[in-house]
Symmetry: C2
Subunit: 404 residues, 2 copies
């Protein structure tokens, strides 16, 4: 008899039929004798509709009130899910984030979980009930409803599993698990059975957006073993846990491709302290999210700084940068969109050399030009022309033998 | 500088434009220097949609979960109303019923307000904020969300006004106030300026469903003066308060007509103790709401009992009654639908005789047959053929000079 925390995302609870389907799945686990806490998201589309409604009232809705509004989305799903279980003969009870004892700190719409006191969750579990908890939300010290940011129902599940010392946390979603590459691009991509937190983090922060990086970080911190799996079939998913010796035998765990990228190069930047800080402070103030940053060694007192960003932010970034280029005495600003970022991720890289060489060779053999290169301890990323992205993913996937 | 509790019903906050309109009205009061608590209902149609959604999951939704679900309706409106005020430059904050300190007792979906501890409401008022409170809801001792039954946002407003010792409670709705008769039927019906709690109660329990009787009872108990007025114009409404000597000069305050009634007569009931109890216990168990009950003096050991009910309940009531008629040894069951109930209400009746005579004479002059008669201290009701209802209302309205 295990204590399991399950999380079902917006697509899995997207309409009454799907909610009943979730109830059937939960009922099966319950009948096996497991104790269950089920975290649910808002039905897909609901959060966006609520934001749209808010914007009809106020162009930039205030954050406390937006939280008050958005929290109704998950509350609705909890009640419906509890009803669906009860209709199936399973005792169940719904709780808001606040009722489940989730206390947050920090600002509205992006609150952090400060602590969880799952007193009521435990009481209801002890009464033999399946406890349905609203994801994505909590309440702050003042007693106001807060939300944790987009995709944070995963975080609720992971944190609740940590607080309850659950045996397992299952993240049910609309994909089967984490794959060695996007199966729509690389047809022989394989589902990964086990992945380490660090690999998952790198995959999460890349194109493979199965899960939010923040949720993986919390799982890592509290050593919560979780499984990413589909709510639409019975296939086992991908288990994410602390790395084991065994995991290192695999040099590259997966290949990730991120489209819709752009890059900006500041050419002829005077090579002196404070210039980079000035550039990136300006971008942060303009709320431009920067991904890769590359600066090569300087020659003759000037250097070039290149960074990548989402192409939707390109115009805003250029506007923000124009005065800075003059102010720091750089020569010019060049930008390009239509690029993709390809990364290989694997903790095995730490103990295996030659990964970069093999990556570059594979791309070279396919006559794909590499624009930028950036590396971390367990990841190597390159940017390529967007048109070359899918081919690049396929040849790299094959070069590392990931289809086997 | 007054402390005012305002309540806006579902129609008044039915869409974003209307919510902005409410905000404009509230803003005006705020600028005059008044301190404001604004109780809002769910946007019109929302509660019904949620019930429909619940029924897609579970034919008879469990009450605790239904409360969890329905409470999102008012929570949504509070957030949107607070945003609309903020957009108009007025500091505002929203609170759920639970956050506003509304503690309930009794069963889910029909909870009663046990007490209100409006600590946070007071704090925010002291900060100069307009406080938006979700109507219709609270939380019970266990910390679960409860709702107070249909139309109970009025109750929230009245109870909040009592707890805060507010100077005035305004119930904004889609009608101008309480009229001497339904203006759609009696074209020269007048708006009543002042009405006593008891008269309002009788009007509320009849066809003039401006407000729920329960809310009026609470207002009476705590001596909360309230005004019923329109959120769509600036007209003063009807003030409801304790009766004054002055009020008694008006013998009849208004005429009320209730359509869609039916009556059942149990003929030849043995005149012995316990029979009436058996009949009405059976009906209560079948969840049939009974209105008038008339039993005349008995002759020869048997009597007839007639009662009225909503015509939608007639078939169910007959099914429930059939075995009882045999069990108590009554002769037969007769029923008729297509009847209306006409009532005249006024605290002046207590000190004026001849009201019944004038009522019967007016109907007689118009050749309208009276079926049943029932009286209370401040009300006389008769039933007539539904086809005669509108004419009956007009002649009675005129007979008592209510158009003046």
């Amino acid at each position: 008899m295990s204590l399991i925390v399950q999380k079902y995302g917006g697509t899995s609870v997207g309409n009454p039929e799907r909610i009943k389907n979730v109830a059937r799945r939960v009922a099966e686990w319950h009948r096996k004798g497991d104790r269950l806490v089920v975290v649910v998201s808002a039905m897909s589309g609901v959060t966006d509709s609520l934001i749209k409604l808010a914007k009809e009232i106020m162009a930039e809705p205030t954050e406390r009130e937006l939280d008050m509004l958005l929290a109704t989305g998950e509350q609705t799903t909890t009640a419906l899910t509890a009803m669906a279980l009860q209709a199936a003969g399973i005792p169940a009870i719904s709780l808001t984030g606040a009722q489940a004892g989730i206390v947050t700190e920090g600002i509205h719409t992006k609150a952090r979980i400060a602590n969880i006191t799952p007193k009521r969750v435990r009481e209801y579990l002890n009464q033999g009930k399946v406890v349905i908890v609203a994801g994505f939300q909590g309440q702050n010290e003042e007693g106001s409803i807060t939300t944790l940011g987009r995709g944070a129902s995963d975080l609720t599940a992971i944190a609740m599993a940590a607080a309850l010392k659950a045996d397992l946390c299952q993240i049910y979603t609309d994909v089967d698990g984490v794959y060695t590459a996007d199966p729509r691009i690389v047809t022989d991509a394989r589902k990964i059975e086990e992945i380490s937190y660090d690999e998952m983090l790198e995959m999460a922060s890349l194109g493979s957006k199965v899960m939010q990086a923040r949720s993986v970080e919390v799982a890592k911190k509290f050593k919560v073993i979780f499984e990413v799996r589909s709510s639409f079939n019975e296939n086992p998913g991908t288990i994410c846990k602390e790395e084991t010796k065994n995991m290192e035998h695999v040099v590259v765990r997966g290949v990730s491709l991120e489209k819709n990228q752009a890059k900006i190069t500041v050419v002829g930047v005077p090579d002196q302290p404070g210039v980079a800080a000035k550039i990136f402070t300006t971008l942060a103030e303009a709320q431009v999210n920067i991904d890769m940053i590359v600066q090569n060694v300087s020659e003759q007192g000037t250097t070039d700084i290149t960074f990548t960003l989402n192409k939707d932010d390109l115009a805003r970034a250029r506007r923000a940068m124009d005065p800075v280029v003059k102010a720091v005495g750089a020569r010019e600003l060049r930008s390009q969109d239509g690029i993709s970022k390809l990364s290989v991720v694997g903790i095995g890289m730490r103990s295996h050399s030659g990964v970069a060489a093999k990556l570059f060779q594979a791309l070279s053999d396919a006559r794909i030009n590499i624009q930028m290169i950036s590396t971390s301890e367990i990841k190597i990323s390159v940017t390529v022309e967007e048109a070359n992205g899918p081919d690049a993913a396929r040849v790299v996937h094959q070069a590392f033998g990931l289809e086997k």
